[in-house]
């Protein structure tokens, strides 16, 4: 019984479960016809470009097994790149190459690959190994993101990304995902990345989780998480919120990164975002979602972000975090 809680306690916290998410939010606000826009990363990228949203630079795509043989030519001159399946999810099939030394391709973990290994990986992507339902897929080759140096101490061997849940265009909850040794250079929670809840108002850390259990420091770097602070938070929220107009999806998970040179970028969009973000924030989504449901349609992006920052601020906890920081230092 020690590991179990009661429905009453969860309800009091406003936690929403899978059933509620599926029926009340995804089923009601996400039109099935729009799914392909976000389920295919290539389409998302093209769509974002149309709306002037920056995404990681596309080096090229591989669509046929024949094209696999020419991958070396495509990669020539790029020092770092990422190969991913267009219809993958949850970090599956993503190969991150940090740098190229002569004939060797080096992963963030330091492991070296040959061109043959890269070709086999691309070929597996094409045959649908990593894609929904195993259907044939396309491989995307993207330039490596050089993440903002301010995060260096919080992440291990990989780019941290920022997930914002956008409901009817309002940013309702956010978290940062930090890659770990287990997650192999990818910031996906069920691969073992650490999730850190971020206060919508300030862009500061609220609390952390790994594998659905609380965490106060990074498992590999050992750095405490409480001092995490995202620069340019307001711009980031506006970028996230504008994805509502871009896709038309009412309940949306936006994955963003902060690039050293190009600033905030959209990495991908998700029509069925997970629920772990509630754990990272120590708070349920329900209250916030219900508040947003009462808001009128057609409010401009800046106003929506301001509304969210006003309503969803975590003042109380922020102070306690700072108090905790004071105790630590």
């Amino acid at each position: 019984m020690k590991n179990w809680t009661s429905p009453g306690k969860l309800r009091a916290r406003g936690i929403i479960g899978m059933n509620r998410r599926n029926i009340r939010y995804i089923g009601r606000y996400n039109d099935r016809r729009l799914y392909p826009l976000v389920d295919d990363k290539l389409q998302t990228k093209l769509l974002a470009q149309k709306y002037g949203i920056t995404t990681p630079e596309l080096i090229g795509t591989v669509t046929t097994q024949f094209g696999v043989k020419h991958i070396a030519e495509m990669l020539a001159g790029h020092n770092g790149f990422v190969i991913k399946p267009a219809k993958g999810s949850g970090g599956k099939g993503i190969l991150v190459i940090e740098r190229v030394e002569g004939k060797h391709f080096i992963k963030p973990s330091g492991a070296e690959l040959e061109i043959d290994d890269v070709e086999r990986h691309v070929s597996n992507i094409l045959s649908g190994l990593y894609s929904l339902g195993g259907s044939p897929d396309v491989a995307l080759v993207e330039a490596l993101i050089n993440f903002d140096t301010s995060f260096a101490a919080y992440t291990y061997e990989g780019v941290p990304d920022i997930r914002v849940i956008v409901f009817k265009g309002y940013p309702v909850m956010a978290m940062m995902r930090l890659s770990t040794a287990v997650s192999d250079g990818k910031a996906n929670l069920h691969q073992g990345a650490v999730g850190v809840g971020i206060d919508i108002a300030s862009g500061r850390a609220v609390r952390g989780v790994q594998f659905d259990r609380p965490r106060i420091d990074h498992p590999d770097t050992g750095h405490e998480l409480a001092s995490l602070h995202i620069q340019g938070w307001d711009t980031l929220l506006e970028l996230a919120s504008s994805c509502y107009e871009v896709t038309g999806l009412g309940y949306l998970g936006t994955d963003m990164v902060l690039d050293r040179d190009h600033g905030p970028m959209l990495l991908e969009l998700n029509a069925r975002p997970g629920l772990a973000i509630q754990m990272a924030n120590g708070e349920g989504l329900r209250g916030r979602l219900e508040l947003v449901e009462q808001q009128p349609e057609g409010v401009p992006v800046a106003e929506r972000v301001a509304f969210a920052q006003r309503e969803f601020a975590r003042q109380g906890e922020l102070q306690s975090e700072e108090a905790l920081e004071a105790v630590v230092s």
Partner: protein, 504 residues
Amino acid sequence: MSRLPFYIIVAMLMVVGIAMSIHRHIEFEVPWTPGEQRQVWDIEAQVTFDGNGEPARVNMALPSSQPGFRIVTEHTASPGYGLSFEEKGGARRAVWSTRSAEGDQRLYYSSQLLVTNDANKTMSTPPSPPVQDIVWQRPYDTAAQQVIDQAWARSADAFTFAQQLLGEFTDDQQGENARLLLTQFDRVPLLVRLLNQAGVSARDVSVLMLESGRRRQSLTPWVQVFDGEKQALFNPATGEQGRPDNLLVWEGAGDSVLEVEGGSNSHISFSMLVRNQSASAAVRTQQAKDSDTLLNFSIHSLPLEEQALFQTILLIPIGALVVVLLRVLVGLKTSGTFMPVLIALAFIQTSLLTGLIGFLLVVAVGLVIRSYLSHLNLLLVARVTAVIITVIAIISIFTVAAYRFGLNAGLTITFFPMIILSWTIERMSILWEEEGPKEVLIQGGGSLLTAVVAYMAMNNPWIRHITFNFLGVQLILMACILLLGSYTGYRLLELRRFKPVTED
């Protein structure tokens, strides 16, 4: 967007479902519980022949109450035919007749037999003493005589003699003489003839081996041997003495089973179904069937063949309900949404333990072979097809191996839905490559657990009774599933997952 119409539909389904069930309970006195468990066999004989436009007369043997079975009711369906029953010397026969039978003709006879344990009731009157001056042609006369002499020397009375004689003719120890005789004569008439020649009263009877849910079965000939007042049945194929519990003597007077005058291509086939019912309920259901009204919209008014099918079909919603419950309320992960129901259906055929072992064996071996296939970089459809063939090969090998080791239970493994199994293997193997063995265990375990729960629900005598006898229950199930489909509360496993959030 009002939910009102939805709740009205659910309420209507509930009300109609409950009303239908209550109506059936009151009007046709179908009990809510299976009650005292008595086995009742529904057996249906179907006679078909081509009429050639002339008057036709069909004479068919009927079973009588006998040790182990009591006939409760009998029915015939034969539009356009006159029907009469004949009885002589304890043997009953039905005679259908018509002025003109043209084209494809079908006659039905069905009876309900209650399984009893009054084993000491006498079976039938012994035949008149055997005629001993049977003429054999050369060289069969010497062969017959030698076989008889040999068996005679090794026996003490009629039954042991029959045992010895039949032993001579079983497949694995046929002697020279037996083989010679079998080239000329049919096995059962030959055995009876030999027995008679040795002065032992015997005759061939036609029996039906009862196996629930079987269709298009035919009668097999057995040998009945008499020794004064006593009698015994022998299986001509094995030489074993004694009546198996599931043996029903259909024709016990040594006459033919079916005689058709004025028609050709005549054929008789049987379907059967066992029900666990209280003895009185069996009778009542039957009576209800007679008073067929539109409201008595029950599958019991269908021919037996279709009933047997429906018994399983009506259970599928129960299995599906279990899946929905476990996924929506508990939050179990399964691989393939309704795969567990199909596995559970297979378990019903194989019995739980054999089913589980068989399933694990096939999937484990399949995964090993599939991991090799994944190196070949095949297209998906080709890969799954290769897995299907592999699964069939695995199942064949296991079946043969089980047979060699004398494990009859192993043979039932063929009831597994092979294509579904192949997809399971394919999915599990992708899962293994992507998420590692842990996720395979979680989803595989979830599927098996769901299948076992579904099996237990579908195999429960009470649930079987209710679903088979009350069609209204299907509407109630539908309403429940609709309600579950709009359940927005927590899943059981989420109470564990989200636990850390509630503590500070």
